[in-house]
Amino acid sequence: MNDSIELEIPPHAAFLDVVRTVIATTAGIDPLLPEQRVADLRLAVSEACANAIHAHQRVHCTDTVQVRCQVEDTRITVEIVDHGGGFDPDALAPLPAATDPARLQHERGLGIPLMRALTDELDIRPLDDGTLVSLVLHLPEVG
């Protein structure tokens, strides 16, 4: 199988539900992925799109966010492209340890660890005007 789906959404959080539905439907056909992994992909894509939307809103960019889903024999890849100015994931300060009282001051910064935990491969690449996030889940071998 080799299928692809592309979406473009306005940079507004109300469209996250649409993206989740499309991705979960695509990943759940046949079914390609077990239910648990579909839920993982659904949340990981939602996280990446939320980051993209937040980035657009931060720089008042009204361009659309692109979401591309590619299904191949061994993997599902979802790419999220934003034009929100970009950031360096390696420059992010690590969160305090969970047992550190200072940890409770941090309401943000959980998205990337979550995406990393939910996917088999996560790549975050700076672009000229934004960021490309690539999420990969490996498909179970058939037979």
Binding site: A14, F15, D17, A50, I53, A98, L110
Partner: protein
């Protein structure tokens, strides 16, 4: 002009039980719906700071939603109370473990347990350990 913000809804039911404020959340908690939840929990944390947030009706909880819970717990503790979670489903427990928040929150397997006053049952790290409830 479509008011996009009004398209996203998360249901929140609030009741007083056993000296705690029980907040039952139903729906997807994400960037769209988390602001509503943040406002509700901030208000409740000040008025009755012993909060129990029941997440069993939550289908999706993203990092924004997790951040809202962290902030609400901080406010509750500043007001002299605390915020505990009810999370009987393994998947949400996995999310809390993946972000180390299972070490921040008291997590109960059921609302009855949360209201019983017994020590919390930490349910972290369920995935891969074969301890998930049926």
């Amino acid at each position: 002009m479509v008011d996009y913000a009004r398209l996203a809804v998360v249901a929140v039911d609030v009741s007083e039980r056993a000296g705690r404020t029980v907040v039952t959340v139903i729906g997807d908690v994400d960037l769209a719906t988390a602001p509503d939840l943040r406002t509700r929990l901030a208000d409740l944390a000040v008025r009755g700071p012993h909060l129990v947030v029941d997440l069993d009706g939550v289908d999706l909880l993203d990092s924004t939603g997790l951040g809202v819970l962290v902030g609400a717990r901080r406010r509750a503790r500043q007001a002299g109370g605390d915020l505990a979670l009810v999370c009987s489903e393994g998947r949400l427990a996995d999310l809390l473990a993946a972000t180390d928040l299972d070490r921040v929150f008291t997590v109960h397997r059921s609302l009855a347990e949360a209201l019983s006053g017994e020590p919390s049952a930490n349910v972290r790290g369920l995935r891969g350990r074969g301890t998930q409830e049926p």
